[in-house]
Subunit: 180 residues, 2 copies
Amino acid sequence: MSLKHAILAMLDLEKGTGYDIVKRFNRSIGHFWSSSHQQVYKELHKLHDDGLVEYEAVEQAGKPDKKVYFLTDSGLKALKAWVRQPARAFKIKEPLLVKLFAGRHGDKDELLDELARHEKLHQETAEQYAELEAQMDHLTPRQRKKYLLPYMTLRLGIHFEKAWLTWLAEVRKVVKDELD
Amino acid sequence: MSLKHAILAMLDLEKGTGYDIVKRFNRSIGHFWSSSHQQVYKELHKLHDDGLVEYEAVEQAGKPDKKVYFLTDSGLKALKAWVRQPARAFKIKEPLLVKLFAGRHGDKDELLDELARHEKLHQETAEQYAELEAQMDHLTPRQRKKYLLPYMTLRLGIHFEKAWLTWLAEVRKVVKDELD
DNA sequence: AGAATATATGCAAAAAATTGCATAATCAAC
DNA sequence: GTTGATTATGCAATTTTTTGCATATATTCT
């Protein structure tokens, strides 16, 4: 039940449209949470019904009109209350690892291809994170303070991508050398 | 739509009851996939209806009767077919990071407590993984071959836990020194 | 003695997520 | 000039997950 809080946290940092939120989830520092636009829009409606967010309709020439959402007082209050509760354990759902469990039934070369594919993806993500980290240098002291903790989530992403790449190299070697 | 395949992969390595599967998901090398017993039992019924698994009812004195599930031919076939398809991208859902996003609204000491709590959890997990890794030494060559790829999933778990612990120390320091 | 934990399975309701479909206008590429 | 990507929002159906409840026995802890 945390998409709700993820959205509140995003809007707390920066107001924005549903579209914006999805972008932040998918690219950039939203590497720790993902969601589809359908879900986000649905949740925004619900948050609005509950009075936790409000929006300003902005007409745009050329593009569809948009709703710029922001937190209400009770939204901020709800976010604060949630922050005070202990976070529940995370859950990993990683299909690649499930596949590796059953990997002996696959073709060795196909497995290597798949590993290469993931290696490329994680390399790209790592580069993206490095760029984002570099951008932190251009912030004003005030902004840097605001984004200090969000920046730390980016740091976890960086550590994770490193772990992925180390591991993928390890697996590649093992599959090459020890699997028949 | 991968709980199905996670279960098939588990049963492919070792037949077992629903209870067993949940245990393997929660503790041990099942660190890459988690599920509740309710889900697993439900999915097992479905897999049975679809003819992908079969079971042998085992009466037990003292304990409830159990159903030892195993893969059917078509279950193995389905697993093999799935292994050949590219794995979809994983999704992280990590409430602690969402919380960190909104962390500036919380109390500094409460945040440090929360971090300490997670540090302890990850330390425990890391120790658990180390033990499991040590157990690999006692396998016969044949078993080692069978468990080679599952072992590699354990390796990712080990890399991840290291990343977590490094990061948690980093965050702790930042929160202590730079947050007011 | 009573409480908690482990074994073992399951139903039912509610919430959340996925998948498919739908619209609508720009802009860039081919 | 049409195809595809980007911006922007949403409904509906289905699938998946979570949460709460339920049962039953053995063992271990306090």
